[in-house]
Amino acid sequence: MGPSVAKPNDFIPLFIDCISAASSRTQEYLLFKDPEDKLHPSFELFTHVFLMTYISQSVSLNLTDTFNCTAMTPGQRILLGADWVWALMEKPSRNPRLQIAVQVLHLQEKEDTEENTALPDICSETMQMAQQESSNKNMYEKLVDFCTSIGKDCYALFLFFGKKNDKGNIYGVLSNNFEVAIGKCNKIDRGFIENFFKGSRYLHTPSGMMQALVTKKEQDPITLMIKFS
């Protein structure tokens, strides 16, 4: 536990407030069905709704100095595989004590039809260049590589905005140990991540997730499934 954080877990209820607001707002949009079937919101919209709501709430609760949220640029999203990164900050060094790098996964059937939709022109050169410069690994593997390169205090969180049989809820798989799968020659893909939900595994609350992270021993591996909404 960082010595400079006076009450290290004080941020958790505030974080939960932010998560609740973001999840509820995002759910409204995930469940929205246009009676005329004319509106087909993009994946990015859901991610932005979640992030905008989370950030607004965390700013209004004055949480950002303790637990900050950094949205990635389009280039960083390709290079690092993360949509945003949460960090619990140590004061006064402002170095992260732990980080959670988040990648949002959308419903598979939508992905099939909408994957690779064109990004805005303004970004396309940057995106192309980022693609050229990044490894041949898929986005899941890039996120795992990014977290592994930092260490056991950096967790990869794959955040599912809806699942096949539950389109309106938000789930997550978090681990600082996904790289073990690579060591065992398993490819990290969507199926691999979805497999964590199979069986009767316990689903943590966001609060339980955060408690587990701040109380665990530094180098210990941890893998959790979470229901965010």
Binding site: L80, R94, P96, A118, S124, E125, T126, Q128, E133, I150
Partner: protein, 219 residues
């Protein structure tokens, strides 16, 4: 010295029409102003809000030199130690570095030698380096003198500027000098190593580039 050369033609949505591409990195301790420096140069913007860079990011800017279009791919690296594995992976293939310290932060100046060693360890021998003492607008809080900066640069064999991203002092000049140094080095290499004209050894982006026009850089 290798560079992406003569990659002409229109890419999908992006302008890939250029004569050379230089890969540049900005490195230095956390909070010295690397991201602000890049924003000032690429977007002519500045914000005093500090947001620590996560891992690595980049921007692209095209400059013109002797009628040649030079595309600068400028990598903004996180200064925090925890990202060192990621950032050093991008040193390979870089033609130039801006090694930055903060004139109001002694520790960042003390770390310059270590950053210089990192460049030697992870990049090409031919990479060019400019040392930049940033935040020179904050004269009242200065703890590193101009002479100390200049002397260290001389000892390390680097060019030197004091800069301010906030007041837009020497930002453009730093990049322009680095580009000049890279062009000079390219011309030098062309004189002594004809292999360079075929793009070998090469940066990653050179792979698809056709041979360079003869006889040399002229940029």
């Amino acid at each position: 010295m290798a560079a992406t050369q003569d990659m002409k033609g229109k890419g999908e949505g992006g302008d890939q029409n250029f004569d050379y591409m230089f890969k540049l990195l900005i490195i230095g301790n956390s909070s010295v102003g690397k991201t602000s420096f890049l924003f000032r140069y690429a977007d002519d913007a500045f914000t005093s809000a500090f947001v620590s860079t996560v891992g690595i990011d980049f921007k692209v800017k095209t400059v013109y030199k002797n009628d040649k279009r030079i595309k600068l791919q400028i990598w903004d690296t996180a200064g925090q130690e925890r990202y060192r594995t990621i950032t050093t992976a991008y040193y390979r293939g870089a033609m130039g570095f801006i090694l930055m310290y903060d004139i109001t932060n002694e520790e960042s100046f003390g770390a310059v030698q270590d950053w210089s060693t990192q460049i030697k360890t992870y990049s090409w021998d031919n990479a060019q380096v400019v040392l930049a003492g940033n935040k020179c607008d904050m004269e009242e809080e200065r703890v590193v003198s101009v002479d100390s900066g200049r002397l260290l640069a001389e000892q390390l064999g680097f060019e030197f500027f004091e800069t301010s991203a906030k007041d837009n002092i020497n930002v453009k000049q730093t990049f322009e000098r680095l580009v000049d140094l890279i062009c000079d080095k390219m011309s030098e290499s062309l004189d002594t190593d004809p292999a360079v004209t075929t793009g070998a050894p090469t940066a990653k982006l050179t792979d698809s580039a056709p041979p360079l026009q003869q006889p040399g850089c002229n940029c």
